[in-house]
């Protein structure tokens, strides 16, 4: 990983499938280990149940990554991982009770903590420079952009739910 020098370096290149499986699975394992204490704090699960649940999620991620690498067409790895998670927990699957039982108790909010921790560390000089150069006006615009898409989507969803109910 070199340091970022220009705006082009900020463009993420994660959405290709040339990643190396070995290091990826190793990092994923380390991150899964970090989640163990977080789940113990966030839930009432036993250590064994937490480890089993996180192991099941790890397996889902591995399956999603393998598909990302070898599928005939490209979808981001997060999309494949979601799809594998959906398919494996469909209620009519023979293993539903067993598999859903493993993951159902895992707290999703606690799983979102490590990514944000890495994100805070990953903020680079370049990003801070962009922020300073853009100034508070872009911050206001960004806030309006996010509010607009959220309220816009919620309004349409609300209308459609009302229409179809």
């Amino acid at each position: 990983m070199t340091t970022n020098e220009s705006a082009e370096d900020l463009v993420p290149t994660s959405n290709d499938r040339s990643f190396l499986m070995g290091p990826m699975l190793r990092d994923l394992a380390v991150l899964t280990l970090i989640s163990i204490p977080l789940q113990l704090i966030a839930t009432d699960l036993s250590l064994g149940a937490v480890v089993a649940g996180l192991a099941a999620l790890y397996a889902l991620c591995v399956a999603g990554l393998v598909i990302t690498k070898y599928a005939p067409f490209y979808l981001p790895s997060v999309a494949w991982i979601s799809l594998v998670g959906i398919v494996l927990t469909l209620p009519f699957m023979p293993w539903f009770e067993w598999f859903n039982g493993l993951v159902v108790g895992i707290d999703f909010l606690a799983l979102a903590v490590p990514p944000l921790a890495y994100a805070g560390l990953a903020i680079s000089d370049l990003e801070l420079n962009v922020m300073r150069r853009s100034g508070w006006k872009i911050l206001v615009i960004a806030t309006l952009v996010f509010t607009g898409t959220y309220v816009g989507s919620a309004a349409i969803a609300e209308f459609m739910l009302w229409l179809t109910s």
Partner: protein
């Protein structure tokens, strides 16, 4: 051998993440009631602030103990760290598949709500802040990775449009989770929209923003966690699939046309194009 080296190089980062995450998780969810609703502060927001304050790029003196080169290695780990979270979301959609399918029409059409990025932000950018063509890049989408790629491809990132999209990208990276946690908790506690609608709106195509948004909803409306995560997850997955096309074929041509209509004489406007010519 190489693997061992990487682990040794990365351990300070992992250690910081472990410690700050545990502290944030112990703090838990904090509610701040304000007049129009309640703002929920989540562990994921706390931890982001903690690691920002330990980031040598942000707080210079930290550089003496933790080099900027070392923390640069945290960047590729974000995507990997979000994977178990995304996997968990997938496993909440499966069991609720009937509910998700029932909500199908609402789920599909609310994707068009992503055009709402333009609704509030464009008028303010143009008429209040008098911004130029950077407003096109800034408001056409929520400026996540696929949207940057679109702008980079069409205008280049050193163009005014590129400046706009990068500005919102960086602000989103820094403040997006806070903005979503705040709007979601306010709207959930003041009862304007139903929880199902708010949950669907959470799927904006960014893992961390969806986490903040659906986390705030789940805390505000305890007992509905399963349907909130299922609907938010399904909507987010849909956005991964459709977001880029909405932004490429609808949002961007729309903003481009609106801009050319309002500022036909901007010397920065592409010369070959006129308002009459369809913008590809």
């Amino acid at each position: 051998m190489e693997a061992l080296k990487t682990l040794v190089r990365l351990w300070p980062i992992h250690l910081i993440v472990l410690v700050t995450s545990v502290v944030a998780q112990f703090i838990g969810v904090r509610a701040i009631p304000i007049g129009i609703g309640t703002i929920l502060l989540l562990p994921l927001l706390f931890v982001f602030v903690f690691t920002l304050l330990l980031n040598p790029n942000v707080i210079k003196p930290i550089g003496r103990v933790l080099s900027t080169k070392r923390v640069a290695a945290a960047s590729p780990l974000i995507v990997i760290a979000i994977m178990p979270f995304i996997a968990k979301f997938g496993t909440t959609i499966g069991p609720s598949i009937e509910e998700v399918v029932e909500a199908g029409p609402a789920l599909l059409l609310q994707e068009l709500g992503n055009l709402g990025t333009i609704l509030l932000a464009f008028p303010v950018a143009i008429w209040v802040f008098r911004m130029g063509r950077e407003s096109i890049g800034a408001v056409h989408s929520i400026a996540r990775e696929p949207n940057i790629a679109i702008i980079a491809d069409r205008y280049g990132l050193r163009s005014p449009e590129g400046t706009g999209v990068m500005g919102v990208y960086v602000m989103g990276t820094l403040f997006g989770t806070f903005v979503f946690a705040i709007i979601a908790s306010l709207l959930a506690t003041n009862g304007v929209f139903s929880v199902d609608a708010l949950a669907m709106a959470c799927g904006v195509g960014s893992g961390s923003m969806m986490a903040a948004c659906s986390g705030a909803l789940a805390e505000a409306v305890p007992g509905s966690t399963d349907s909130i995560t299922a609907l938010a997850g399904a909507s987010n997955l849909l956005t991964y699939a459709t977001g880029m096309y909405v932004s490429l074929f609808i949002a961007l041509p729309l903003v481009e046309r609106m801009y050319l209509r309002i500022r036909p004489d901007d010397p920065e406007n592409p010369r070959a194009r006129t308002t009459e010519e369809p913008v590809r």
